[in-house]
């Protein structure tokens, strides 16, 4: 099964002033989804959420993988430019996405408690000082897509701490990490919450050693 990379030529330099331009960390997430394509389609996911959709490339890829309107795909971002880019990328690839301008999962986490079948998160993973993290999150612009505070894990940990309340019985999360995030420690941490966590793809891209962790409630 080979799926085309979503078309993104409609996004211009002006867009990339405010929205993270798809790069190796975006593509490794697509590759992880493609690797699991049969698994994902066989599970017939009903509710999928991407946190921090940016350009919308991963939400679009997932939507095309599952079949348009064959599941509800909600894409959140704190950056309004990213929400607009997400709509446009969906449209350019003949799929309908559902962006929400919000912090992480704030307005949907009550209704989606233990209801999320697939959760995607390519977080702000770059280690920075805490002040830079806070300023970029308040700024709600492109910096918020990468500045991750201590170990690059501040924002990721907020989501991981709640993960047992988010995933459905068959729920799966795909998380992009770099080596500085200490993926082995993340795996241990997830296992201590009774979840199953595995590094399914790993690759060096320039200075970054990237991997995608797959976290699930049940054995896959």
């Amino acid at each position: 099964m080979s799926l085309p990379t979503p078309y993104i030529a409609h996004l211009t330099e002006d867009d990339y002033e405010h929205v993270y331009e798809p790069a190796e960390d975006s593509f490794i997430l697509l590759d992880a989804l493609e690797l699991d394509a049969d698994l994902l389609t066989s599970k017939k996911p009903t509710i999928c959420v991407e946190i921090g959709s940016g350009s919308g490339i991963a939400s679009t890829f997932l939507s095309n993988l599952l079949g348009t309107d064959n599941s509800l795909i909600i894409s959140t971002d704190i950056n309004v430019h990213a929400c607009q880019a997400t709509i446009r990328t969906g449209e350019a690839n003949n799929t309908t996405l559902n962006p929400i301008l919000c912090n992480l999962l704030s307005p949907i986490q009550n209704r989606l408690e233990r209801q999320i079948d697939i959760l995607l998160f390519n977080p702000p993973y770059v280690p920075t000082d805490l002040d830079e993290l806070i300023q970029t999150q308040i700024g709600k612009d492109i910096g918020g897509s990468w500045a991750g505070g201590n170990d690059g894990m501040i924002v990721t940990n907020i989501v991981l701490d709640r993960l047992p309340d988010l995933l459905s019985t068959n729920g799966i999360m795909y998380l992009v990490t770099v080596i500085q995030n200490k993926p082995l420690q993340i795996i241990k941490n997830m296992e201590s919450k009774g979840l199953i966590c595995k590094e399914i793809i790993k690759r060096r891209a320039g200075r970054e050693l990237l991997s995608v962790l797959r976290i699930s409630r049940n054995t896959i």
Partner: protein, 124 residues
């Protein structure tokens, strides 16, 4: 493009707002109907995820009276088609969503619901 399937998942998340924080009430709405391919298998699969009362009330507030008051136990194809239309084809492009509990207004602009809160309104 806030479709009603998405609206059915949105709750007010202002700090300490826990009563009547769902569903959010639409007002000053610009509604657009965009035909979407019918996938009734998906619609059926989605039924257990819906808050039915919230959906019926919301659809009626936007002028669509096709959904029955109580969720059918057995679904006819026509009923599923009507539900498909409400969930997947009704898009709110502009307008406001107001919390019935605390009165907070979440605007929708260019099809994007703005659910951001000011720092002092954020819970947890």
């Amino acid at each position: 493009m806030v479709r009603l399937i998405t609206h059915n998942m949105l709750a007010c998340h202002v700090k300490n707002c826990t009563k009547d924080n769902f569903p959010l009430s639409f007002s000053e709405v610009e509604l657009v109907i965009r035909p979407a391919p019918e996938n009734l298998e998906f619609i059926q699969r989605f039924l257990p995820k819906l808050d039915w009362t919230a959906l019926v009330d919301t659809a009626r507030s936007l002028g669509d009276e096709t959904l029955p008051e109580n969720m059918p136990e057995e679904w006819s194809e026509d009923q599923l088609k009507a539900l498909h239309h409400v969930l997947m084809e009704m898009h709110v492009e502009e307008g406001n969503m107001t919390c019935r509990g605390c009165g907070h207004v979440y605007p929708i602009s260019n099809g994007i619901p703005n659910m951001l809160l000011a720092e002092h309104e954020v819970g947890r």
